[in-house]
């Protein structure tokens, strides 16, 4: 057996998130033992993804076409945009089935300490979309952490002068949780965001 090829695959696999050297080794030997067609079909799926998948020109979610299936769906509410950090966030919100508007994926969040500025994200493109008009509400669904919060604040500052309604998804206690175990910031936010019953 040529030692170079297996070593090569192990090295490639360690590029993936959460895959250390040991796991990569295990996967490489597993692939080695697989029927040839199955292994090739994994490789083909990766190739196909990279050759065909791209960012939607409107919302920057992942699609095989110029416009994604949500942006091109006439049954969706085209006056609402939900802003998320990553394409994976969009998938989770879609799974709830309660949101029928459009999305805008920023492809990251502001992080001044790492030099990630508004220019590194798809914020200008969002502003352009709102400028083109016909948008009644922008829902900011960035993560409830420092980076996501800074991003939400920056975006709302930029959009406010345009007169569009800007909302932020609610903060609160996790369902199935217990107040006793909530930290003080979460609890403060949950109190601030309380509503009438």
């Amino acid at each position: 057996m040529h030692k170079g090829v297996i070593e090569n695959l192990i090295n490639e696999l360690t590029r993936l998130p959460g895959i250390g050297r040991k796991t990569a080794q295990r996967l490489a030997f597993f692939i080695m033992a697989m029927p040839k067609e199955e292994a090739i079909s994994i490789a083909e799926a990766i190739r196909e993804l990279k050759e065909r998948a791209r960012f939607c020109r409107e919302c920057f979610s992942i699609t095989e076409d110029d416009l994604c299936s949500i942006c091109s769906d006439p049954k969706r509410d085209h006056t609402r945009i939900c802003v998320v950090e990553e394409p994976s966030n969009l998938i989770v919100i879609e799974r709830t089935g309660i949101y029928r508007g459009l999305y805008h994926v920023l492809l990251g969040a502001l992080s001044p300490v790492d030099g990630i500025t508004p220019e590194s994200l798809k914020i200008r493109e969002l502003i352009e979309r709102v400028k083109r008009g016909n948008i009644s509400e922008v829902i900011i669904a960035t993560n409830p952490n420092t980076k996501g919060e800074a991003t939400a604040q920056y975006i709302s500052e930029q959009l406010k002068p345009m007169g569009v309604r800007i909302t932020r998804i609610a903060y609160g206690l996790p369902i199935g949780g217990d107040i006793e175990f909530a930290d003080e910031v979460t609890l403060t936010k949950a109190l601030e965001g309380r509503r009438e019953l």
Partner: protein
Amino acid sequence: MLTRTEGIVLKNQKHGEADLIVTYLTPDRGIIKAFAKSPHKIKSRFGSSLEPLTHSRISLFGKEQSIPKITQSDIINTFYRLRESYDDLINISRLIRVMLSIIPEDTPNKRLFNFFLGILNLMDSSTGDQRHILYLIALIRLLAMTGYAPRLNKCGRCGKKGINFYPGAGTILCDGCAGGQEIKGPPVRVNGDIINFYSHSIEWPVQKLTRLRPRKELLSTLSSIMERHLSQNLGIRP
């Protein structure tokens, strides 16, 4: 080995799918990295305690030379109002960036820890304008503590008096020393008020710093001196 200490979160970054690498400023080990397993899982007991600026009591577990694991983190102060104000977050992030680029990891520095904690406490109890002044003071003081501050009191070459600060040289130069030298960029004129504010920023005890109330003009001149010093001499861009 289990160590217990306190720390202020300087930054955090995702590691792999769900883990987080947290950079802390601690009194006994200086700047250190530690990792947390799946802190974002709803059931995680870390809550918001790994967010930037949080001051907490932490327990770390791990062998020397490898990144330790955070096993416990109890909040002392969240400072969440500071990180939730965009302008303050930008300013404090700038301070942290400077810290991370000039201070080596794993070098004990109790003074630095006390200084940074003091500044956060002071900012947390101040108004917006005051917080902006405190940021500038903190930046000056941080550079002075680490030996990277620009020299504003006298000519950096011969020690004579002078009024022109050359950002490219990181110091005031008297006319004699400035002449006939290749110095990038025009000088900034420095007056007595600026020099006084500058030395008070460095020398006064932290608790007294809110008494410094510079005029807007002074603030903007000094800000631009500091920014030019950071980018030209220390390579830290805005």
